[in-house]
């Protein structure tokens, strides 16, 4: 079976700095695939290449076997690729509902209907409300996004993604900056989405418990390159990853043993 | 020096060289291949380049540092011109002093000094008093500088009236001429070119070699980072603003003997300087320096070309904007521009 997402020798250089270096990965349809690595490893840059925000210096990206390297950012959303951001990236002065409704509207066919009130197109509003309910923000639908607390902004980030109902979700540290007691709630939401089935998730996450328990495969990146790849068990047992990296970075129980 | 050119990219330097080369060829053609006229065209171009640079330098640093397009910058140039004119011509003016220095050359030097100081003082007041409360609201700062530019123009009109003055006191330095390929050129203008080049070098050294210069350059890259390092960015803003306005007023002072004092000086130089900094690439000081030379030379060449009766003066007046549009179509971020 062709993987839903594949990269071949993907490379991105910023001047002299090679942020992503010759990365070739394959993501199976329906799987949950984690990308981990220390700060500055190139995870976010890889995501930017996958979603089309950056053009790679060299290498190619395939989606369901189709070469999408030159497909622009906005068209990739229409192919079913959705992405959330590590750094809060919302429409700050629009209401929470508007933020989400835009995502629902984007893939429809009403974008150029200039005499229809956007708030009366029921299907988008309903879809947005549904996404807000999944993340638990239905009570704050009419406040501007900028006044939400950080945890609320993270949920909104996720709701925007869900409203478009993508088949491939690229989640870049969905819990970044959240207080630790709020993290499980957000991870439960992601777990719920996953259990609905039919979706593939690629997630960057620093919490090793989450990664080890919830993911089918893990890719470890370091200095722009792939250090190792495998199932959680394989990665957990990988001497190189353990010694060089996992132990000191995440202080994995047993890593020092 | 070479290192600083690397991030700008080889394309920047190559495009600049090609552009200046093309302008020189065009100037040669416009001069009908006469070496004398060609040389004079070049000198006039450089002269204009230096005046543009004096306005554009402040504009560029202020924009890079604070994201404000200071619309009042042209007003400082105009004010410098009027003050200098007034002090040198005691009978014409409103400033009661100046007459006590009888030697006109000394009086001229004194006048330029006063103009520069007034420019600096007003720049300081504008930044501290009006812009600072609006810190972080660049849009409103833009409106504010525009309001100040209107006020400056109206104050000048109120003090000196709307009609233009032309320079009448003959300074020895102005009378002197030298000949190049048998064509005369004023020594004073050459002197202004030299002074402009010196200032260009001076500001470059200030930016590259001194601590404060390094802070300014870092601030242009990333003001938040600099303040995170515990440096008082606002003091740096004030300094740059003061310096920029002083340079513009100084420019008006040295230019008034050959441009005369007119109400339109401010807007003319403001627009052309905006063309310079954008064409050079916002946030790049090298870009501003190169941009002044490109616009100055291109403008002078076009003026020479327009001297032919069948061409007319339209193209000459358009040339700064024409060059700007051309460069932006070739390089969307200007010659030395970065993402912004």
């Amino acid at each position: 079976m062709t993987p839903i997402l594949e990269t071949r020798s993907l490379t991105k250089a910023f001047g002299g700095l090679v942020a992503v270096n010759d990365v070739s990965i394959q993501v199976e349809e329906g799987s949950t695939h984690a990308v981990i690595g220390p700060n500055g490893a190139g995870k976010t840059t890889l995501f930017n290449l996958l979603c089309g925000n950056f053009k790679p210096t060299s290498g190619r990206v395939f989606y369901r076997g189709q070469d999408i390297t030159n497909v622009p950012l906005h068209q990739r959303a229409h192919l079913g690729i959705g992405r959330s951001f590590q750094i809060i990236n919302l429409f700050p002065n629009l209401t929470v509902l508007e933020n989400v409704r835009l995502a629902a509207q984007a893939l429809g066919h009403d974008n150029f209907r200039i005499f229809r009130r956007a708030s009366t197109i029921v299907s988008y509003v309903a879809r947005a409300a549904e996404a807000l309910e999944i993340v638990g923000l239905q009570g704050q639908a009419s406040v501007p996004a900028s006044v939400l607390p950080h945890g609320g902004k993270r949920k909104l980030e996720l709701a925007i993604l869900l409203a478009a109902d993508p088949k491939l979700l690229l989640l870049d540290e969905p819990t970044a900056g959240m207080a630790s007691e709020q993290v499980p709630e957000l991870m439960q939401i992601i777990e719920r989405v996953r259990s609905l089935g039919g979706r593939t998730i690629v997630i960057v996450e620093h919490n090793m418990n989450v990664v080890m328990n919830a993911c089918d495969r893990i890719t470890v990146m370091n200095l722009g390159q792939v250090l190792a790849e495998g199932t959680p068990a394989e990665i957990g047992a990988n001497k190189q990853v353990q010694d060089v990296y996992l132990g000191e970075l995440y202080d994995l129980p047993g890593a020092h043993a | 020096m070479l290192k600083s050119l690397v991030p700008a990219g080889r394309g920047s330097v190559a495009t600049s060289v090609a552009l200046i080369g093309a302008i020189l060829l065009f100037a040669l053609y416009a001069a009908n291949f006469s070496p004398g006229i060609f040389a004079i065209t070049l000198l006039s171009g450089l002269l204009r380049a230096m005046l543009l640079f004096l306005v554009a330098a402040g504009l560029s640093l202020i924009f890079g540092l604070m994201d404000i397009l200071n619309f009042a910058q042209g007003g400082y140039f105009m004010l410098g011109a009027y003050i200098t004119f007034d002090i040198v011509h005691p009978d014409a003016g409103v400033i009661p002093f100046g007459g006590f220095i009888s030697d006109p050359t000394l009086r001229f030097a004194f006048a330029i000094m006063v103009a520069t100081l007034v420019g600096a003082a007003l720049g300081y007041v504008l930044e501290r008093g009006l812009l600072r409360p609006l810190y972080k609201r660049a849009l409103f700062q833009l409106v504010l500088t525009f309001g100040v530019s209107i006020i400056l123009l109206e104050v000048v009109k109120f003090l000196w009236g709307p009609s233009p003055y032309s320079w009448t006191v003959r300074l020895p330095i102005q009378e002197a001429q030298f000949r190049i390929f048998d064509t005369p050129f004023s020594t004073y203008r050459l002197f202004v070119i030299a002074m402009g080049l010196l200032l260009m070098a001076g500001v470059t050294v200030l930016l590259r070699r001194t601590r404060i210069g390094i802070i300014i350059r870092a601030g242009v890259q990333d003001p938040e980072m600099v303040s995170a390092l515990g440096i008082n960015v606002r003091a740096v803003f004030t300094l740059v603003f003061t310096l920029g306005c002083a340079l513009a007023a100084f420019g008006g002072g040295v230019a008034v003997p050959f441009l005369g004092a007119t109400n339109s000086l401010g807007s003319t130089f403001l627009l052309a300087s905006i063309a310079v900094i954008v064409l050079g690439g916002l946030g790049s000081f090298e870009g501003t320096a190169v941009g002044s030379v490109v616009v100055g030379l291109g403008w002078a060449a076009m003026e020479q070309f327009s001297a032919r009766p069948e061409i007319g003066t339209v193209l000459a007046s358009m040339s700064p904007m024409l060059l700007l549009a051309l460069v932006l179509l070739l390089r969307p971020k200007g010659l030395f521009g970065e993402d912004r």
Binding site: A77, L102, N111, R117, A118 | I150, I274, S317, M318, A325
Partner: protein, 354 residues
Amino acid sequence: MAQNRLTRFLRSEWIYIVSSVLLVLFPHIVGWMTDSSPFGVQRGTRYIMSGSAVYWMSILIDIFALSVLVMSYNLMFGFTGVISFGHAMFFGLGGYLLGIVTQMTGLPPDIAFIAGVALVIVVSAVLGLGIGFATLRLRGVYFAIFTLAVSEMVLIYFGRWAVTGGEDGFALSTIPVWIDAAQSRINLYYVSLALFAGTFVFIRRLVNSPAGAVFKAIRENEMRAQAIGFNTLRFKLLSITIASVLGGLAGIIHALLAKKIGPEMLNVSHTVDALLMTIIGGVGTFTGPILGASGLTLADVLLREATVSIGSLTIDIGDSWLLILGLIFVLVVLIFPFGIVGTWNRLRMRFTRR
């Protein structure tokens, strides 16, 4: 149910409905109050445009034209986040193109007028679209400055072009009687009012439509708008094109009232006025541009004649009007940090929350 909708409509829109009625009746109200006829004074078969009612109509026509210009600018700048410094070009071209067609083609006035208006619409749209396309690689300030460059070149060109009278411009004399400001100002008044009201309603509908939602998304965060699947370039082109056409129409009204077209119509000061009035009124609000435009026009009219005496010193405000304008900008910016309507909305929100 239908009745319910009607009362809801009346309740939310009553202020606009009352304003419209007042504006429609305005010439007659002023005429009645000042005992002058809004049709002017009859001399034989002609009407001479004089009297208070006619004078006040001119001021309102001015406000309508300026408001349309500012509203169109606000669509681009306040709602889509695109800063252009070249909007004066469309305003000026509106006047020039109408003038060229009516004065220089020799067509009968009615046909020439309609052809002129059509030409303005087409050329503004094509030019707006063209500039948008040519500059699709330019962002932010670079786009703004590019538009400034183009508009300055157009200004210089018309300032020197002998056909249109160079610096002096030319008079607009052969226009149909029914819209001639010198013969039937009241008709011009209603035409301008229609354009003004139409623009207001149109922009409100547009901004509240799905396309308008995307405009606002672009203003807030263009990259994110692309990431969720919008081809933002298309929406920016739509916004720029509509704003350009409206700017051209505003220029037509201005030229019809002044009956004269010259390079000053292309002056960058019209762009700056539009920018400043948007900011002063309130960026990205519907009524802010109208408030900014009418406030400054009225201040201009009322203060121009006034004098202030402090002791023996008499200051003629008309002479220092621009100085005062500069001071107004500075003060308003310092006092109303979000523009007048923006500050009002914020205050209201704060009080209703408590």
